[in-house]
Structures are given as structure tokens and as C-alpha cells.
Symmetry: C2
């Protein structure tokens, strides 16, 4: 008997029809002889609607009370799902984050899981019931208050429960068939990836792939949880995100996939005196705003002027406050001016095989050059290369790179035909 | 410093405007130097909408999961209310029934309070915060499951908290100005009652007065909690429901008010063999259906036939199942037939002064007779007389009785002018 954790997002349970469809699927999994734990998000746009309500009664809702409010969303979806399953003749019990033992710190709105003690979930399984657990929420043992985990919280709940219950697999249900080599809306020839390492998935998520949240992937990687990302609208196998053991051989394609991201902006600090410590001073100011800096490029200083430029990318939503902080520090730092550019796009090429394959960068740059696409910034890790382009050339960039690395569906069939993937 | 418990119903917090208005009122109470605990119901029609959702995924939702679902309603209203109060610069913390220590038995959907340990509420008050508590909900210590208290649950939560915290008064906010001598929509000359005993209020609630639930009144009476029923739309004083101590003299008007009820039906069991034990047999069958029997009348048996009739009233919603149970038992009991009549109305005249005033019944019957209204059943307690009439004569009956007992607004001013009420 396998223990399967399934996570259904808001779009899968957006209405009564969706809930009944998901209930049927869960019951089938149970009747196939598995123990089943289900993590569910709030229905459709419920969370956004609750945030709107909060903003209609308070100029700056947040903290304890906003978490109390938002957790009503999963309370509704999880109890409805339990009822729908019971009406199919199978016992089901729903549990809040607190009842399921999701213990967190006290950072309301972005709480971190500190312990998982799913005693009641285990008891439900032991009597043959399906356990339904509210995603996204937990509670703080010290204050006794309800917390929420922030963006991607339900994925994280599912992975954390899978780890604590030693589940065989954690299935993440979504409205697409799995992880693709690139966004199929941009690259029609993109194909589903059958199997990817958590290391690669981490890079793809970090680079903007939306299907899985980076935090859930990190948790899965750290605790050795196997993820299966698949569609709730069909029975096709999706993408397995696996954790190969040290030394385990795995047939790795050079490139797993391409992620594209339009959510970032670029700030350039122009005319910085080229004396030691200036970069540190600038990024200390940036860090004080809690902004998430991604790529950083420092231009060589002109010997003529003795001045350098530093550019960095960050989420557009962080832009205004970082600019404000830097402007305030201009006299102290002594730079000439600031430039803000929110028309950039970022392309990331990810693949564990890259490590042992020279020439990946060269092939990437050549493909972009031949397509007339200008590269503005470059950053690399062991298994990823990211480049920044103009936003309006990003889609073209993804398509030419997808083709250049042999990822298009027909090519892929040939390339991977003999690897048994 | 007084400790005031305030309860706001769903119509008072139906939307963002309502929540902000109520928040302002609560803050004023706090700033007047009082400790304030607020019990709040779900917004507007939220509970009905959640029940509809439940019925759309399950043919017979109920039990643990329905309670889990419904409690989302107060979670939303209480956290929004806390946010609205905080945005006015006053600290507020919301607590679920479970966090507020509302401990109940495990009867889902109609749980009874077994203990109230509002430690966290008391702590919030001690640091100067306003405590907002979810009405209608509790939890069972044995199973750890969330429960709901059933109809009128939020009133009961407020009264139970007021008792446990030893509050000075429990204010029940509603959309009318207080308790009236009769329904003002039926009797335009009805006037607000300034002060009524909990004993009288109990009889009025039992007889169909909708403003206060009988269960909350019973709890208040048992624990000596003073209620103040008033409007959330103005600052007028409403109706005080008081508990005079034994021996305490209270100037009591003969008649406090009149309640009318159209929600009952009458079942007549025709042609019962007039032998001992038949009535017991019939009401044992009725009791097995969990129906709430109200009035019972047994006709004298005709000596010619040796057969008797028994009529009783019960909520219309119980009618079908009681008829089914009696029909099934017809051979065994040996009655001739059953009659079902859902076109009855019930009028109840309530007043503690009735105890020491002869002639109240005579005056009531005379008033109805002179108006040509036929009385079908009569039942009395020490401080109440109820009569059943045709449903279509009920409004007329209320009006003539209201006038006959001097309750019309102008008359009342004369009658009670010198009593200091």
C-alpha cells in the first residue's frame, strides 16, 4: 500500500463541479489501494476576494488578523471536498493547518514551517479515511495564533506533509500537463519533461517557471520527497521531480528546459566613484529595503573618469522602494544618477548536464546573436545560464534557444528517443 | 470600569460599510472607558450561501464537515472587524470559538456549551485590547473537532461569555430598537418595552418573538446576566432584560407584550378508543420523531361512541415526519384518522403581573369574541396565555388584544405614566 499526498490548487476546486471532479479522482486513488492525504487551496479567486474585503475595511490590513481572514478560504474548500468524498461513500475528514500539526514561526503572511506533527492525519489514515488538509496555513505554538505561509504555501504544505508522513510521492495537481521545456504558449513545439532533478527544477522555479514554487521544491529536495506534477483534468503522467542519490547515475539531457520571466526590472547606479567599499555600501542600502536582488553586473570603470556603473535586477514590485532608498543615500554614496528600466526580459537555460558539457554558453550566445537579439546581462550557475534581453525580444529569444538546443518536440523525439526517458 | 459584551448580528456587518460603522461604535464604547468584548455573526447571508455550496456538492451535508464549513463565516467577519478597529487606532484581536474557550459537547450543528474558559479573551482585555469573538461556534475537547451551536448560537455565545467574564451587561445589537409590546408591522401602535424580566422574555421568545433566542435568554436567566437589546443603527436605549433577585420588588405591568407565531401546524388524531394509556402511546410515538410539541388539547370523549380526539401543535417543519410515524402506528393504536391543519396562528399574551391579577383570561377571551375571532385551543402558564386561531385572523387578534390590554402607545403613556418605567 502506497501513501500518496495529493495537492489541488484553487483552479481545480474553483466551483462545485470542480470539487466533485476532484473528489472522484481522490476516491479512485483510495480505491486503488492507496492511503491518501489531500492538501487543498482556497476555491478559485477566494483569497484575492478576501484580500479585497480586507482592503475595504482597513488601509493596510496585515499580520495576525489578515492571516485569520485568509485561512477561511481553505476551511471552505477542504470541508466541501470532504463532504463531496463522503457522498461517494468513502470516509473523509478535513483538518486545518493547526489540526494537521503544521507548526510555524510567527511571521504572519510568510511563516516558515518549524515542525510538522501530523498525528491526527495519521490517525485518520489508520482508520481508512482520506485526510483533507488545508494548504497555506499553520499555527504558532508560542502565541497560539494562526499563520499563513505566503505565496506557494499550499505546495509547501503538501511537500512538508509528504516528508513528515514518509509518503511515496507528493502529487501536485495543476491545470497543465506537467513541466515543459518552455512555456507552450510561447513555444508551440515545447514538450513535457517526463523526469527532472530537483536541482534543475529549483533553477527553473527560481528563473520564473510558475508551475512549482521554489520553496516547495527546496523542501522536497532537502527531505528527499519525490514530486509528480500533473494535470487534474486528465490521467496522463506528468513530470516527476526526483532526487537522485549521491553517486546514482542518471541519464541527464544537457538541457532540461527554458524559463522566461518578465516580472523583473533593472536599476543602474551610474557614475560611482571607483573606490573600494562602494558596491558594499550600495547593496547594504538595497538590502535594508528587503528587496530580492537577482542579477548584478558591474561595468569596468573608465580610467578616464574613475567612475563605474552597477546594474542589478529585482522584482518590479520592489522597484519604487529601492529607488527611494538609493535616492536618499545619494549624497553619502556619491553616485551621479539612477536609471530604472522595467522593459527587460530574462531567459534562463537550465540543465544538470551542462556541468559536464562545454560550449553551452557559446551555443546560447550564438543562437541569440544570429536572431539579432541583444544580451544586456549574463549570470550563470553550475547548471543554469541566465541572460537579460529587451522584454519585447524575450519570446523570440526563447523560441530560437529552444530550437538551438534541440528541445522542439520532433527534435526531442529523435534526441531522447534512445535514452529510455 | 465596566466590562461590556456586545453582540452584532449578520445584518449589522453585512458589508464593508456595516463593519466600519460597527467598528466605530465599538471604539466609542472602549474610549468611554469600558472593557469591550465583541461577539460577531457571519456577514449577511454568508451562512446560507455556505449551506447552498454544501448542498451543491453533497446530497446531505452535515456533521463535522458542515460545522467546519460554516465556521468560516464568523472567521471572515471577526477578522475584518478586528482590522477595521485597528485602523481606527485601537488594538483588537479576534478569536475563534475554540481560541475563546467555548467548549461544547460533540453534537455537530446543535452543540451545547459545557464550559467556557476565556483565558485568551481576558488576556486581551488586560493589555487594553478589544477582544472579538466568533459567535455560533465552539469545539469539543474530546475529539478536538469544531462545533456549531445551531440557531441563535451567536446570542448564546455572547451571553455565555458575559457570564464567564462576569460582565456588567451583554448588549445584543439588532436592526430594531428593542423588544416591542407586539410586532410593529402588525400593530402600528406597539411601543418599545424599556424593561422586562427574563422570565417574561423567556415566554415571549418561546411564543415566537424573534428578536432574542430562547436559548440565550435561558442562559442569561440561569447565570444572572443582564441583557440590553438595542439597535446598531442609532444610540437609543433599547430593552433591558433583567433578573430581579428573589424578594426584590419590581413594578410589573400586568402585561409585558404579545407574541404571534405562524410557524406551527395542528395535528388532530380522530377517534381514539377511550381507554387508559392511549394518549401516552400516541405521544411516545410522536416523541420518537424528535418533534417539538407545543400545545395539546384532548376533547372529552363522546359517551355515545366511547371515542376521543387529541389535537396538538408543532412546528410545520416537523409535520410530515410525525404524520408518517402516526400513520405507521394506526393499526396498533386503533384511531380512526388523522387531520393536518397548517393554517393556524398562535397568539401569546405574556406578563409577570398576570400571576396576581385575576380576569386576564376573561378579558382576552372577551376581546377576541367581540372581534368575531374564534379560539381553537388554549394553553396557559403562570405568566402566559396562548390561544390558537385561524392564521388569517391572527393579525386582527393581536391588534384587538393589544388595545384591550392598554398597550397601544398613547394608552401606555397614561397607564404606565406614574410607574417610573
Amino acid at each position: 500500500m502506497s501513501l500518496i499526498v495529493q495537492k489541488y490548487g484553487g483552479s481545480s476546486v474553483a466551483n462545485a463541479e470542480g470539487i466533485k471532479r476532484v473528489a472522484k479522482r481522490i476516491v479512485e486513488t483510495r480505491k486503488a489501494g492507496n492511503e491518501v492525504v489531500v492538501v487543498v487551496s482556497a476555491m478559485g479567486d477566494t483569497t484575492d476576494e478576501l484580500v479585497d474585503l480586507a482592503e475595504s475595511v482597513s488601509p493596510s490590513p496585515g499580520g495576525r488578523e489578515l492571516d485569520m481572514l485568509l485561512t477561511a478560504g481553505e476551511r471552505i474548500s477542504m470541508s466541501l471536498l470532504a463532504m463531496a468524498i463522503k457522498s461517494l461513500g468513502v470516509e473523509a475528514r478535513s483538518y486545518t493547518g493547526s489540526q494537521a500539526g503544521m507548526i510555524t514561526d510567527d511571521r504572519h503572511g510568510s511563516a516558515r514551517i518549524v515542525d510538522v506533527s501530523p498525528g491526527r492525519v495519521r490517525e485518520a489514515l489508520d482508520v481508512g479515511a482520506i485526510a483533507i488538509v488545508a494548504g497555506f496555513q499553520g499555527f504558532n505554538r508560542g502565541t497560539g495564533d494562526i499563520t499563513t505561509l505566503g505565496r506557494g504555501g499550499s505546495d509547501t504544505t503538501a511537500v512538508a506533509l509528504a516528508a513528515a508522513l514518509n509518503a511515496d510521492v507528493c502529487e501536485i495537481y495543476t491545470d497543465v500537463d506537467g513541466i515543459f521545456t518552455a512555456d507552450p504558449r510561447v513555444v508551440p513545439s515545447a514538450h513535457k519533461i517526463d523526469r527532472i532533478t530537483s536541482e534543475e527544477m529549483l533553477e527553473l522555479s527560481a528563473a520564473g517557471a510558475k508551475v512549482l514554487y521554489i520553496r516547495a521544491v527546496e523542501y522536497a529536495r532537502r527531505h528527499g520527497v519525490t514530486l509528480h506534477v500533473r494535470s487534474s483534468f486528465n490521467n496522463n503522467l506528468g513530470t516527476l521531480v526526483v532526487n537522485p542519490q549521491d553517486g546514482e547515475m542518471m541519464e541527464e539531457p544537457i538541457i532540461a528546459g527554458i524559463a522566461a520571466d518578465r516580472s523583473e526590472a533593472k536599476i543602474t547606479v551610474v557614475g560611482i566613484p571607483d573606490i573600494p567599499g562602494k558596491a558594499a555600501q550600495i547593496f547594504t542600502i538595497v538590502a535594508s529595503t528587503d528587496a530580492n536582488i537577482d542579477m548584478i553586473v558591474q561595468n569596468v570603470s573608465s580610467t578616464a573618469t574613475g567612475l563605474a556603473d552597477i546594474s542589478f535586477t529585482l522584482p518590479k514590485s520592489n522597484g519604487a522602494r529601492v529607488l527611494r532608498a538609493l535616492e536618499a543615500a545619494q549624497p553619502e554614496v556619491g553616485f551621479a544618477s539612477l536609471q530604472y528600466d522595467d522593459q527587460i526580459g530574462k531567459l534562463a537555460l537550465v540543465g544538470a548536464g551542462m556541468r559536464t558539457n562545454a560550449g553551452v554558453s557559446a551555443k546560447l550566445f550564438t543562437a541569440l546573436f544570429e536572431a539579432g537579439i541583444n544580451i544586456e546581462m549574463i549570470s550563470t550557475s553550475e547548471i543554469r545560464i541566465s541572460v537579460v534581453t529587451r522584454a519585447d525580444t524575450l519570446d523570440d529569444a526563447v523560441r530560437v534557444v529552444h530550437t538551438a538546443f534541440g528541445l522542439d518536440a520532433e527534435q526531442a523525439a529523435q534526441v531522447h528517443g534512445g535514452t529510455g526517458r
